[in-house]
């Protein structure tokens, strides 16, 4: 069986998670690699969640929230954006390629878009091969 990457997706409850549900109700097919974690707001996503995901063996992490201006809590998604920019260089230092983490806006009506993003990212991860970081991080611990 070919290598199947593990992609963890943190989705906000109001837009992206609903969008993923819509992909389901409209039977849009996408890669099995993605495993979804629901949070109330993308602003809730703590850097440690991302690190934990990599440490537990995720090959990639997708963070997704409402489009700018649509945030159910006004500006949580902007906070997520800021943290994303702070986090990525740090991850790179730890030997995690920037392609392994991605921030995307997916609205509740963009089921297709969600599926498309997942497939794109899976393809990238497949070409990159498994993340070595699990081992590295183990040393840190």
């Amino acid at each position: 069986m070919s290598y199947e990457p593990k992609l963890v997706a943190f989705l906000c409850n109001w837009c992206s998670y609903t969008g993923a549900d819509l992909a389901g109700t409209s039977r849009t097919k996408y890669s099995e690699s993605v495993r979804i974690v629901r949070v109330m707001c993308s602003g809730r996503i703590d850097p440690t969640f991302v690190l934990k995901a990599f440490r537990e063996g995720a090959d990639g992490v997708l963070i997704s929230g409402c489009h700018p201006g649509d945030c159910h809590y006004h500006e949580g998604n902007y906070k997520a954006l800021r943290r994303y920019h702070l986090l990525t260089p740090y991850l790179v230092q730890m030997g995690i390629e920037p392609e392994r983490i991605r921030l995307e806006w997916v609205s509740a009506s963009e089921g297709n878009r969600f599926a498309q993003i997942v497939d794109e990212m899976t393809a990238t991860l497949r070409t990159m091969g498994p993340s070595k970081v699990q081992a590295t991080m183990a040393n840190y611990a």
Binding site: C41, F49, Y73
Partner: protein, 571 residues
């Protein structure tokens, strides 16, 4: 730690899930996880027999946690929480794994789909292990209400709310009720008598035994939260306790002096729409020289739709200008009446028809580009008329000058100069133009992000009388609902601070969009006003010490979920 007793229930959803996911296998794998007491699959978990099954297990096997692997929690979480509740379990001891929308409906490879379903369900099991029972608090609601602003909007809101046991304090800064509507004779395409409406409202407000009219009064300070606000009036010591506050402070007219080109303040025969209303009320239309005007030019968008003053449209001026034309035509059958406009915004019911009928009364319309508004200047000596309005008439492409002996400026309506102070007072926010920001521009135009504080009328953005009254009524609906319920529910999934660990850095306070976190100087720690918190968890993500976290979405719960999600394949 006490051994947990978890029940796992995997749903077939007919063939919707079972067709792709090997539900038996999922159930089998879950059964092996320590702490899982029972793991079953069933055709329709959401159906009554399905729910019966869960309740039976809870009672007979003494389950303390439940995982349902079926459809999206957005569909059936309320259903199964109810199930737990009925079985005497705290509803928050439930976790759902979404193996329909996120697995069977989007994947085709049965093997991979099953593996994923197992991961998701295991994640749910791991998560539910660290779930804690939550209780939904309720706070009592004070039945009194304060309405800020005694214009048509404020009075309407007061009248809609006030009644037996529902006191309303109507606070008006000036000494009389009526606000901007005072002196306005008629309004709208049907020339309704505003005076009559005002008189009707004022009488009813003054007569009402349930409305306490406080004119000449300013609010000094507001503290508290939804259902229980404490209002200190600036004048003297009086304090009001209210459950809700309706802000209806309206607008103020734009000062045309700020626009040199308008000629206002420089030429006596240039008047604002406000002054024209007074003329109309007096019924005497005269120029400075005391004669009746023979050529009147009405200029639209003075201070509106203009980058150097206000970029927004004041919404009501176009209809006012048309109304003015009719008033003038009634009074001065032979006068030439010009309207310099940029877009004729006659959008209300019967407004377009009113525009057409006005045109038929020999009113001449002149079109200008909003970037090149008309200029009012003094006519050269010897001209029969004292003023000249010059503009590029873009419908003819001709630069024209309009001799006039009376110029009426349709001045913008702008947020009151002290709008920001009012906003701070009740902790709501203002937009770039100083208008109060509603909770949601589409679906919640009368509420604000601060529970218990409502906005109505033009203080939220310029409006005509019917729209103001609608919004006033909208605020009343919320207030009445809260009062009849007697209490407001506080969501259980709010954030809490572990005050022992809090270092008092106040990062949480800076990131909270609702100002729900307060700082206790005495203890040097933050504390969450649960009544205000919406449980978004932004604070938790920001807290450097990891001491603040939203219930039901704690770091631990998410981390546990991740471990389950990514645990190595088995069986």
């Amino acid at each position: 730690m006490n051994p947990q007793r978890i029940g796992v229930y995997v749903c077939w959803c007919g063939s919707n899930i079972a067709k792709i996911v090997d539900v038996e296998k999922v159930a089998r794998v879950m059964a092996r996880i320590p702490g899982v007491e029972v793991s079953r699959e069933y055709k329709y978990m959401c159906s009554d027999p399905g729910q019966e099954l869960i309740m039976k297990d809870i009672k007979e096997l003494g389950l303390d946690r439940v995982v349902v692997a079926s459809c999206s929690p957005r569909m059936h979480e309320p259903t199964f929480r109810k199930t737990l509740k009925l079985a005497g379990l705290n509803p928050y001891m439930l976790e759902m794994a979404n193996i329909r929308e996120h697995v069977s409906w989007v994947h085709e490879n049965q093997e991979l789909a099953t593996a994923k379903a197992i991961n998701l369900t295991r994640a749910a099991v791991h998560r539910v292990m660290v779930h804690a029972p939550l209780v939904q608090h309720e706070v009592p609601v004070n039945r009194a209400t304060m309405v800020l602003g005694g214009g048509i909007t404020g009075m309407t809101a007061a009248l809609r709310i006030a009644g037996q046991g529902r006191k309303v304090y109507l606070v008006e800064r000036s000494d009389e009720l009526g606000g901007r509507a005072i002196g306005v004779g008629r309004a709208g395409p049907h020339m309704n008598s505003v005076a009559a409406l005002l008189d009707n409202l004022t009488t009813r407000v003054n007569d009402s035994a349930y409305i306490d009219v406080l004119t000449g009064t300013v609010v000094g300070e507001v503290s508290g939260f939804v259902g229980n606000f404490l209002v200190r009036l600036a004048n003297g010591t009086r304090e009001l306790t209210v459950g809700a506050i309706v802000v209806a402070t309206g607008t103020q007219p734009f000062d045309a002096k700020k626009l040199h080109r308008s000629g206002y303040g420089r030429f006596p025969n240039v008047v604002t729409s406000t002054q024209f209303e007074e003329m109309a009320a007096s019924g005497r239309f005269t120029t400075e020289s005391g004669k009746a005007p023979r050529r009147v030019a009405i200029i639209h968008c003075v201070g509106s739709r203009d980058s150097e003053t206000h970029s927004y449209c004041s919404r009501t001026c176009c209809m006012d200008a048309l109304r003015f034309s009719n008033i003038l035509r009634d009074a001065l059958p032979d006068a030439a009446i010009y309207q310099a406009y940029s877009d004729m915004r006659a959008f209300g019911r019967d407004a377009e028809e009113f525009y057409a009928r006005t045109a038929e009364r020999d009113v001449t319309f002149l079109l200008f580009d909003k970037l090149l508004p008309p200029t009012v200047s003094e006519a050269p000596a010897g001209d029969p008329y004292p003023l000249l309005v010059t503009m590029d008439e873009i419908a003819t492409g001709i630069a024209i000058e309009v001799p006039a002996d009376l110029v009426v400026l349709m001045v913008a309506r702008e947020a009151c100069s002290d709008a920001k102070d009012v906003a701070k007072l009740v902790s709501i926010s203002v937009d770039k133009d100083g208008f109060f920001i509603e909770k949601h521009p589409k679906l919640d135009p009368a509420a604000t992000t601060t529970d218990g504080i409502y906005i109505a009328g033009s203080c939220q953005g310029p409006k005509d009388i019917p729209d103001c009254m609608s919004q006033a009524g909208a605020t009343a609906a919320r207030v009445l609902a809260a009062i009849t319920m007697g209490k407001v529910k506080v969501p259980a999934t709010t954030a809490t601070v572990n005050e022992d660990l809090c270092v008092g850095c106040q990062t949480c306070i800076s990131v909270c969009p609702y100002g729900a976190v307060i700082y206790l100087d005495k203890h040097r720690v933050s504390r969450v006003e649960e009544v205000i918190c919406k449980g978004c968890g932004t604070c938790a993500a920001a807290c450097p010490a990891g001491t603040i976290s939203p219930r039901h979405f704690t770091d631990n719960q998410v981390l546990q979920q991740l471990e389950g999600l990514l645990a190595a394949e088995e069986g």
